[in-house]
Symmetry: D2
Subunit: 357 residues, 4 copies
């Protein structure tokens, strides 16, 4: 399997570069007979689209998706679904000065070293722009899962820089999240986050933060020990997302400072069946879902692109001082929310299908 | 590919249960002509073996590995190497009382729900005992990598409960780590950690902690965007390990509270080539190694097995109070150190081979 | 890995239907730095294109390929190369009468039964039209292999119906093959084959035949026992091609009637190294190439589409008599020659890359 | 996925060499809750076992299988099932003279060239002895399939050298086949085949032949276009078997000399549903089963090991004359029958599971 494909049964092959003709994905494994709601797919792409607000990159991309195959009379046929998104507003000349420069904490140096050739325009293959294809694929996965489960992926910005939300995750709704420009469930905190991002942008700087995500409606039994554990699949999917530097589920790192007697999830049987009294485990035990919401958090580093002078090296191996003024997001987290949901949904759809076999 | 196999080119298939006849692994993809130092493999297994000290489970297993195939006159032949470790000291009767009980925060309930049948003896397939096979496989991977690179995986216990070490990672040696019963580089802190574990054990409780790991000697260029990124492969491997609840690399979660101007890794060219001035990125950019040490941290939850009464449910769906007194580790971290190194080394070996293709 | 992807390291994902918006392929695993000769890719597509002569379907498709990604300044970048071919001359109305009918020896009934939904237009996903994407991908594989080896895939029509060529395979050239409308190396036989095909067409009937293929310039050592044997990979690739009903290599079925003393390939060492005195083995022993040309033959059934009344069944389960008059090839073999070469070349490219790991 | 593993969901990893400590297989993907009839597995191994008659190698191996994992109280648990068969009667000294020799039409030269090292004892990894593990795995697959379908794989020797059977395939029973020492359904022909094999053996020679196989009880809908077509999966599995040089299904090569009007499978609807009037297609259309028996034939070359002087080369690159007198089968076909059935059954089990996803 190529390294640009993920999934065992619900498989997504990603292609494209930031300034090439197009980006996209091929989804192989979509069961037949699923209504393909193209408006819903487009709506998810719109959530990820650049230029949504003053806080994001000003690149203008409509990100309209064309379905090239696998759909007949509005239904999936079981054949691969190829998704195509043309690049429209690539200003490649903006990157001319970067052709021979390795930007700090970008993938310029590593791509150059690995491949010996690098499409430097807009980050090339390393650009987060390619996640548009992932979001479209994730929307297809969601259309499939909706038929199977009362499934919902709900992610939100839990912190930006030092501004952190501490509300209860179980009650957050996607509607609440979408009401916020930064996609934080708390309106007041949301406003402060907006200000912090704007301030960082104006200072030529960038901010990191964390996203929390819940996957709801997954019954006990999803996940494939010992190398297809649900948390391992989620971690790999999440660490594929640009700028993600950490993944934890359940109590995560905080739980490492606790005692077993404090964090074990006591179980109880009731009229509705068996349930965990708490969800310290984050909905997974032994790599398999336990019926509680899957609950995980991601650390995002601050955007590597900043408008300040930085020491770095060029392709001739000379030390230089770099100053750039491209279009970029001073904080990637708001737009990353639908990407996180999409990738998580791809994992769930795949695990559902694998679990049938 | 089965869900008990990991790797694209250096592939490990895991098998076995805690109280079955044997556990083991088949390594497929070991290049031919590598000297197979069985003493080294056994030495790694001894680091993971139970019964090393009063702080670990008292199950007595010599964990002697038999190589069934793939080696001829001390050299690998290119054929699969099957590794067999017999279970010797399984006291299955100790688990009779657990046959119809779901232990809190164990995989009992999820396995039961998923498979409809569960080998309850010693945790069955969900037992961490199966990691012996992974450690043996990881030792093979290391024997391969040594021929290619000046490679070393060095992991250590960075914290137990609230006791945390804050030394510099680059200078930690495996020797230093092995000198400590809990595998923490700091002798004084190590003694305090031992006491904390012993106290938890005596109180019928358990402790969590963190392990930090450095992978050294990896040149720039390892990793396969966009779904075989080095951090994604490492995260999946690490989240496959029992009790691991979180993975972060480079600045990880702490970096999410910082600004780009603070954490970007400035680059500089010198006589030895290009290097990062710091290693906030943890040795990876865009999914590809950058030549700096790969640096990551793992959160382990406290052992789920505790000797205290816990509310739970039995297989008849009745609420019960469970008290158990089996053999288990009050803190898994010291024995997890070689497992972390082995899994990381499997990832590196695989990525090295994939990168050749 | 999805079932529309083939390859371990040089991976091709196929998509598209006969009458959908487009067909194509994503090639993942193309090494970086290979010059992408688009004219050569197009030339291969032109060899497969419909409408080349009166002996093929009259559907008019230019089959122009657009490269969507993975190429920068004429060189491969190591990123996936997406290949897009628009469908231009789909006359879907021609298939209206077939919407509710299962054509004999077509995939109509099996697709209908498997998926519950079927794009009946032009055979939908089951159409051989999708092999255009394979041919384009195979051309990319060839561009890669040319850099590595003095490689050539040379296939030709060895028989049509009962007209069979018995010349020596080692001297056949692609030029010789292309000089023939039916792609048979013998001009005189070629003319008789043309007549046979035209006669079958005029009689509303169709003809089968065999294709022989040689892969030249492959050194000893290619192939991966025991489940990636070269002949197994080739067989799977060939049996993926529409209408192929048999695969044999070396002496194949004829060799089953011989004695070991007759067919064993005696070896001899000379100034140029070791070689086989004959090539009864077809260039492979134990799943690994032995340095002689890889030599295999394929059986193609006669085209299932014929213009005669046939007994069959409709989707309501009624027995009917079917007469069709669509555009189709009365004999698929001439156009299958580049498809065979392309699929074989994909196998070789993949095995070359896997063998490095 | 390693090249010693086959299958997407029902996965078999093969290991072992002819004269190593053991051979075996790990089956990953066996659904949970299947009764594991070890006597049945052993019975299948006994059908493949050497030393069954004077016509086979006289190596004495009981081929007792030990199940190391994945079975609890007689039922599969969903965990990998490791199967171990010890080598008992390896007479490695018999092969001393072959250490530095490349036997004609064996894998000696190709393994040597590919790996640089070769376990020459008994053919090492290239020995057909490893198929014992495949047969055991196939028996597990059959135990699974029996629960799902009224499935049967029935293979037989259809020809030995020029002695060929032309009976109707649909009525052959496994019982009938097992009644014959050479596993040909016709008792009279069977006797002549025995004589032919004995004569070849006495002449220091060997014979080839063909095996035909029917897979019965498979409903329409099995197989995964376009790269997991049923015939492609079967072909790959069959071409993995030692000495197989050709695969054809349905009318195969004979059909290439026919007209469409002669070979199209007319369909008819009746009380029992839809069926093919003939089975020229061999039970598959468009890569998917059509409900008729899957019907294929395999060409086996004569055993490469013969007791006659042969021209060949040694590892020093010198031309030599080789005479060998090891233990081997003068005709492999009788013992290959259960191997063919096992490999076919592995394909079917895998496709059944993949088809669920």
């Amino acid at each position: 399997m190529g390294t640009n494909t993920r999934g065992r049964q619900f498989c997504v092959t990603s292609f494209g570069e930031s300034h090439g003709p197009a980006i996209g994905a091929v989804v192989d494994g979509m069961p037949a007979g699923i209504p393909i709601d193209t408006a819903y797919i487009q709506a998810q792409l719109d959530r990820r689209r650049p230029g949504q607000s003053a806080l994001t990159t000003q690149r203008k991309e409509s990100d309209e998706v064309e379905i090239l195959s696998g759909v007949f009379r509005g239904l999936s046929t079981g054949a691969p679904i190829a998704l195509l998104i043309r690049n429209r507003d690539a200003r490649s000349q903006d990157y001319d000065q970067l052709e021979h420069v390795f930007r700090p904490s970008h993938a310029d140096y590593t791509y150059h070293t690995k491949y010996g050739i690098r499409d430097h325009r807009g980050g090339g293959r390393a650009s987060a722009r390619i996640t548009a294809g992932w979001v479209a694929a994730g929307a297809l996965a969601e259309l499939f899962l909706r038929r199977e489960l009362d499934y919902e992926a709900c992610a939100w910005v839990n912190s930006i820089h030092t501004l952190s939300w501490d509300g209860h995750p179980d009650t957050v709704t996607r509607k609440q999240v979408e009401a916020s420009l930064v996609r934080c469930p708390d309106p007041e905190l949301s406003a402060r986050m907006e200000q912090a991002i704007a301030a960082a942008r104006d200072a030529g700087d960038s901010l990191g933060g964390t996203i929390r995500c819940q996957l709801r409606g997954i019954p006990a039994g999803l996940g494939e020990p010992v190398f297809g554990k649900l948390q391992a699949e989620l971690a790999a999917a999440m660490l594929s997302i640009h700028a993600v530097k950490g993944f934890e589920y359940g109590m995560g790192f905080a739980g490492s400072q606790r005692r077993g007697s404090e964090v074990n999830d006591a179980m109880e049987a009731g009229a509705d069946g068996i349930r965990m009294q708490q969800n310290h485990s984050g909905g997974i035990q032994g790599g398999i879902s336990n019926g509680a919401p899957i609950d995980f958090r991601l650390a995002f580093k601050p955007t590597a692109s900043i408008a300040r002078a930085q020491e770095t090296v060029n392709t001739s191996g000379e030390n230089i001082l770099l100053e750039t003024h491209g279009r970029h997001d001073p904080c990637v987290l708001p737009r990353a929310v639908p990407i996180v949901e999409a990738m998580a949904t791809l994992v769930v759809a795949d695990m559902v299908l694998v679990g049938r076999g």
